[in-house]
Amino acid sequence: MSAPAPGGARGGRPLWTGLGLAWAAAAVPLVLATFIGLNGWARVLVQITGVAISPWYTGGKVVRVIDHGAYRTHLHEPVFTGLLGPRKTGFVQVDLLTPEPAAATAAGGARGAARAAAVPDSVHLPGHLVESVDFDGDGAADFRLDVDTRVGTARVTAFNPRVLGVHEIIRFEHGLGLRVRLRNRS
C-alpha cells in the first residue's frame, strides 16, 4: 500500500478526495442498514410514495360485501385505470368466496379465459349460483351472473348497455373471481 497521499503527487483535489473516500466508506453501513432495516424501510417507502398494486391485478378496492351464509359476494369498484387517464373499457370484479379458505390447490385459467378448469371439491361454493350485481350503485341491477361453480363457467345477462360480457374467471383458494368487461361512461 505504498501509494501517494490523497491529493498528492498525481494532482488530486483534497476536498473531492475526502468526499469520495467518505462516500466509499459509507457503503458498508449503507449495506448493513439496507438489510437490517429492510422491513421498516419498505413500509416507509410505501407510505412516502403512496403506491398500491395495480387494480388490473388486484381487481380494485372491495366496495360491498354481501353475506349469503354459504358464501359471500365481494363487489369491487370498476377498474378503468390508464396511464394518462381512464381507459375506454375496463372491468368490474365480483368474488364469490367461501367463509373459510379451503385448502385447495390453485390452478386456473390464464388471463382472458372465459372458462376455468374444474373447481376442486374443497371449494365449498354452491354448485350453481345466480347473482344480480349493481356495480354503479344506482339501486338497479346492471347484470346477472349465472355461475356453474363445478365446471367454472359463467354467463352474464346485461341490463346496462355498459356491460360487455365475461372478461375472465379466476380461481382462488376459497372461491371464484369473475371479471365482467365494462365500457366506461365517457
Binding site: M1, S2, A3, P4, P6, G7, G8, R10, G12, W16, T17, G18, L19, G20, L21, W23, A24, A26, A27, V28, L30, V31, L32, A33, T34, F35, L38, N39, W41, A42, R43, L45, V46, T49, G50, V51, A52, I53, S54, P55, W56, Y57, T58, G59, T81, G82, L83, T105, A106, A107, G108, G109, A110, R111, G112, A113, R171, F172, E173, G177
Partner: protein, 389 residues
C-alpha cells in the same frame, strides 16, 4: 514504472489478511444468522456453518491473494444455482407448481424481482400503482422490500449489483467458464447497445399496456423460476420464448463466447442499472501511464464493458459491473478499482478494499440465505427423500 507494490493485485501478509478479514467474520455471522441464536435444527445448523465457513474462506483468500474475481465467482455462481433450488422448492411448497395462475396473480402471490423495476417506474409516477401482481409488503419477495434492496445496492455498488448481487447472473457466469477458450471471439460492438434498446422498448410497452411486458414475453429466467400457466396457446408461445432465450443467452452463447451474453447483450435491467454507476462511490479506471495497450482487459471483460476507446480514455464503459476481471488480469496494474474524487492510480489496493467490503457483504447477505436454504433442501432430500416439507 511497473512497481509491483502499486499493482491492484498486491497480496497481504497472513497477519494483515487475518486482521482485515475480522470485520467480515463478525458481519457475515450477524447477517447470515439474522439474529443472536444459532439454529437448533441440525438440518439448519449444518448449512449455516458450511456457508459461514465458505464465505469467510473466500473473503480471506480475496485479501490474502489480492485477487477479486475468482473468489467473487466462487460464491456468485453457487448463489445462482442455490437461488433456483431454494426458489423452486419454496414455490412448489407454496403453490405446487412453477406455473403462475390468474388466481395467484390476483391474490398478489407473485414474487417480485429486480428485473421488473425499470418497467414499474413510469406507471408508478403517473398512476401511483405498481404494475406487478405481487404484494407490496407481505409474503415472499414483496415489491417494496426489493425496491429497498435495489436502492441500497445502487448507492453502494452501482452496476456492481450485476456481478455481486443479481441471483440470475451467476448462471451465465458459470456457463461462460465451461470452455477454456472461446469459440466465438468477435461480437460487433453495436450489439452491446441492444440492452438499451430493449430497455426503451419494455419501458414504453409496459407503460402503454400497464403490464410488465419483459416478464410476460422476454425474461429468459422464467425458464428456471415461474411462468404463466400453460392453459392457452399464447401461454405456450410465451414459455417457448422463455426457454429459447434461456438456452441461447444463458447457456449456448456464454459457452461459445466466454462472456455473460444475457447481461451484456440483452438484459434491460442491466442497461438501466448502468446509470447508477454515476452515483456509486467506486468505479474501475485504466491508468494510461501504466497501460501498455495489450488489450487483455478488453478481450476478457465478460460484459463487453471495456473497448479500446474507453481504455484509451482511461476508464470503462457505463455498463461496467466491477467484477474485477480486468483488475486481476492486468499485469501492469493499470486497471484498478478507483474511488471517485481521488486521482487515477491512487492507492488501488485501498480502493479495492473500499469496494470489496460492501460488495462482498452484500453478496453474503443477499446470497448467503439462499445458499443456506438450498443446502438445507439438499440435506432434507438426503435425510427424508423429499426436498419439499
Amino acid at each position: 514504472m511497473a512497481d509491483a507494490t502499486l499493482t491492484a493485485a498486491a497480496p497481504h501478509t497472513l497477519l494483515k489478511s487475518s486482521l482485515l478479514a475480522l470485520p467480515m467474520v463478525l458481519l457475515s455471522g450477524l447477517m447470515l444468522l439474522g439474529g443472536p441464536n444459532l439454529p437448533r435444527d441440525p438440518l439448519r445448523l449444518a448449512p449455516f456453518l458450511a456457508v459461514y465457513l465458505f464465505v469467510n474462506v473466500l473473503f480471506f483468500r480475496m485479501l490474502r491473494t489480492g485477487r477479486t474475481e475468482r473468489y467473487r465467482a466462487a460464491f456468485f455462481i453457487p448463489f445462482a444455482v442455490a437461488f433456483v433450488i431454494s426458489f423452486l422448492s419454496n414455490l412448489i411448497e407454496a403453490r405446487g407448481s412453477m406455473q403462475l395462475t390468474a388466481g395467484d396473480m390476483a391474490s398478489g402471490r407473485t414474487p417480485f424481482c429486480h428485473m421488473v423495476i425499470p418497467m414499474t417506474l413510469v406507471p408508478a409516477a403517473l398512476t401511483r400503482t405498481i404494475i406487478f401482481p405481487g404484494s407490496l409488503l407481505r409474503g415472499f419477495a414483496p415489491v417494496a422490500g426489493m425496491f429497498v434492496i435495489w436502492i441500497g445496492a445502487s448507492l453502494a455498488l452501482g452496476r456492481g449489483f450485476c456481478a455481486w448481487g443479481c441471483f440470475f447472473g451467476g448462471l451465465e457466469d458459470g456457463f461462460s467458464r465451461l470452455r477454456r477458450r472461446p469459440r466465438v471471439r468477435h461480437i460487433a460492438k453495436v450489439w452491446s447497445y441492444l440492452p438499451y434498446a430493449v430497455l426503451v422498448a419494455i419501458v414504453l410497452t409496459s407503460a402503454a399496456s400497464l403490464t410488465p411486458t419483459y416478464c410476460m414475453w422476454l425474461c429468459p429466467f422464467k425458464a428456471v423460476t415461474e411462468f404463466p400457466a400453460l392453459t392457452s396457446t399464447v401461454a405456450r408461445f410465451q414459455a417457448g420464448i422463455f426457454l429459447s432465450l434461456f438456452l441461447g443467452l444463458v447457456i449456448v452463447l456464454p459457452v461459445l463466447t466466454r462472456k455473460r451474453t444475457q447481461c451484456g447483450l440483452f438484459c434491460p435491467f442491466g442497461a438501466f442499472q448502468s446509470f447508477t454507476n454515476k452515483v456509486s462511490p467506486v468505479d474501475v479506471r485504466i491508468d494510461r501511464e501504466r497501460c501498455t495497450d495489450c488489450n487483455k482487459c478488453v478481450n476478457s471483460c465478460p460484459t463487453f464493458s471495456l473497448d479500446r476507446e474507453s481504455a484509451d480514455r482511461g476508464g470503462t464503459r457505463l455498463s461496467c459491473c466491477k467484477c474485477g476481471t480486468c483488475v486481476d488480469l492486468c499485469a501492469k496494474g493499470a486497471a484498478s478499482y478507483h474511488v471517485r474524487g481521488t486521482p487515477v492510480g491512487w492507492a488501488p489496493e485501498r480502493a479495492r478494499l473500499l469496494f470489496i467490503y460492501p460488495a462482498f457483504l452484500f453478496l453474503v447477505t443477499f446470497g448467503g440465505g439462499m445458499l443456506q436454504e438450498a443446502l438445507h433442501r439438499v440435506l432434507l432430500l438426503a435425510s427424508t427423500g423429499r426436498m419439499i416439507r
